[in-house]
């Protein structure tokens, strides 16, 4: 059996590509849900009602109601705001912190490099979630602090990535040429090195968003993220745990939302990697 016939290769590319597109579509749907939540959510996500406590899913309440009579579907829609915002904003912030430091380390070399690299090593030696929990704990419970904690914890990955790419660039002929033309170092870094590292940054960024969304949900679950009564998937799961026997739907849907959006970002990121960086194709 020929495992790598052109037909199979085409099939694989098609399959991978289609999956990545599907991932992107799901991501867009979630973004729309987050942005349009005030208009598309059928009920107020915070208003409690004592007449409809823990009602099972029905036509009126698609995902049922929670222990305070709030519509779970509406809360899941609103919860997308906290999750996506935390995912996207904290990763952007991590990039803003990590990429310049990584470029600086890679291009300046010597002491600067040693110092920045050891700091990144030190931070990477604490598991991502534990670092985020510790930071969030010391900063105090709030969504903004959770985002900051996630951003700081995620930054060293971008330092390493940017540093590696800068080192690679430094030994390239075009780098020598840009320097020889009399470009100052910052200009070389900004106009020549940065564009070259955009594709891997995009890939890493997408995958990091998936991880950041799980981290935000974890922190909210622990009570270190979005504060109740504001809806977030993690805190919804936390209160759902107490009503597992009476109202399992409270625990099912917020988790499905996290799973689907994280899966979508992962699939999209994998597809981006295959498309943007032929060298690292998983074959």
């Amino acid at each position: 059996m020929n495992a790598d016939s052109p037909r199979r290769r085409a099939l694989r590319r098609f399959f991978q590509h289609r999956l990545a597109v599907l991932g992107l579509v799901v991501v867009v749907v979630f973004i729309l849900a987050a942005v349009l939540a005030p208009w598309v959510a059928p009920y107020d996500p915070i208003q409690t009602s004592w007449t409809r406590l823990r009602k099972p899913p029905s036509a009126a309440f698609l995902f049922g109601t929670d222990e305070n009579g709030r519509d779970v579907f509406s809360r899941v829609l609103w919860g997308a705001r906290a999750s996506l915002m935390a995912g996207v904003v904290s990763v952007l912030a991590a990039m803003l912190m990590g990429v310049p430091l990584g470029l600086l380390a890679g291009l300046a070399g010597k002491w600067t490099d040693a110092l920045i690299s050891r700091i990144a090593d030190a931070m990477l030696s604490v598991p991502f979630l534990i670092l985020a929990i510790a930071l969030a704990a010391f900063l105090g419970p709030a969504l903004e602090n959770a985002m900051l904690a996630i951003a700081i914890s995620a930054a060293p990955v971008f330092v390493r990535l940017a540093r590696g790419m800068a080192l690679e660039a430094r030994s390239a002929d075009w780098f020598e040429a840009a320097r020889a033309l009399g470009n100052p170092p910052w200009r070389t870094a900004l106009l020549h090195v940065l564009p070259n590292i955009v594709p891997p940054l995009l890939v890493q960024g997408t995958l990091a968003i998936a991880e950041a969304i799980i981290a935000e949900a974890s922190l909210s679950f622990l009570g270190l993220g979005q504060q109740p009564p504001q809806p977030s998937w993690g805190s919804m799961l936390n209160s759902a745990q107490r009503f597992l026997t009476q109202a399992p739907w409270m625990a099912i849907y917020p988790g499905v939302a996290i799973f689907v959006v994280v899966l979508a970002f992962n699939v999209f990121g994998d597809g981006l990697r295959d498309a943007l960086d032929p060298r690292s194709q998983r074959r």
């Binding site: 090593d121 979630l129 704990a137 949900a217 099912i252």
Partner: protein, 315 residues
């Protein structure tokens, strides 16, 4: 080999030093006065506050506080819990075996699922088997493990009533009960790692299967099973083992939420409880201990890498 080891150790020391500064620095992020938290009911009494400040050296310059703290840490003194009135190092040592049991079980589960799945999908690449294996791995990676834990409790404890939803029995007390209380959390922890291991095994197997020695083995007329397992897999194992050691450190992070959900009194529950009780020395101690474990594990991973890859040994 010895020279390499020394160089590697020399690199670890500055990393640990920076780490200690960072962990000490966490305190400075803290809103409010630690003396006020500690004083509790007596927060109105300036004499008590002054006494606490003097005891914790809070009235000394930060640099001095840091040096006192570091010199104690080096001697294994991680400070004193504000709430439980016990040395932090003792608390950590008490909880660590619980998490270690959980992590080991999770690791075994991850290997049992991830490695065969990776081999299978590399051998059957681009067939529905491969796609299915990849989908399983992707699902494992994308599932928030605390949610998986809740779903498992819902299914196996609430609906079927097969397993206890929470609690922990030590292995030494009753091994059956111990396994019953830890099997679900271990599966939850292992499933994510299984996905990562599967992907790495698959990639390593594909590289190995494309090597000349595999072609030679096939040309000699060896059975495909022997080629796959004896020739390709043994070589594919090298990157997988290294990765495995590092993933083991990551299990500690995963344990934080898993232990919270299954109310298992381990390392993860220790840090969460400490966060809620604003027991900051414990939070710092746990972070420091995880970092130390991680640094040791990555050293072990490097040594393992050397041990199983003879090509590197002479270098």
């Amino acid at each position: 080999m010895i020279g390499w080891l020394l160089r590697r150790l020399a690199q670890i020391i500055p990393t640990l030093l920076i780490l200690s500064v960072m962990i000490f620095g966490l305190q400075q992020l803290m809103p409010g006065d630690p003396a006020l938290i500690l004083a509790g009911e007596e927060r109105g009494d300036p004499v008590v506050l002054a006494q606490i400040r003097a005891e914790l050296l809070l009235d000394r310059p930060i640099a001095e506080q840091y040096f006192v703290w570091v010199s104690k840490v080096v001697q294994g003194d991680f400070g004193f819990s504000w709430r439980i009135r016990m040395p932090v190092s003792q608390l950590i040592l008490e909880k660590l075996p619980v998490t270690f049991q959980l992590a080991t079980m999770a690791f075994v589960i991850a290997i049992v699922i991830g490695v065969p799945l990776g081999i299978l999908s590399a051998v059957r690449r681009d067939t529905p088997t491969d796609w299915l294996a990849n989908a399983v791995a992707l699902a494992g990676i994308s599932t928030p493990n605390f949610w998986l834990g809740i779903m498992m409790i819902l299914f196996f404890s609430v609906n079927l009533g097969w397993l206890p939803p929470s609690g922990y029995v030590p292995l030494t007390e009753d091994w059956r009960a111990s396994l019953a209380t830890t099997i679900m959390p271990a599966f939850v922890l292992g499933s994510g790692i299984a996905g990562v291991l599967m992907r790495h095994t698959r990639a390593a197997m594909m590289t190995a299967m494309a090597q000349d020695y595999v072609r030679t083995a096939r040309a000699k007329g060896m059975a495909e099973g022997v080629v796959v397992l004896k020739h390709a897999f043994r070589n594919a194992l090298i990157p997988v083992v290294t990765l495995g050691a590092i993933e083991f450190g990551r299990l500690l992070a995963g344990a934080v939420l898993t232990e919270q959900i299954f109310t298992i009194p381990g390392f993860g529950k220790l840090i969460v409880d400490a966060v809620f009780n604003r027991d900051y020395p414990v939070v710092q101690g746990v972070v420091l201990a995880t970092a130390l474990i991680f640094v040791v594990l990555s050293l072990v991973a490097d040594l393992l890498y050397m041990a199983i890859n003879p090509r590197l040994r002479q270098a």
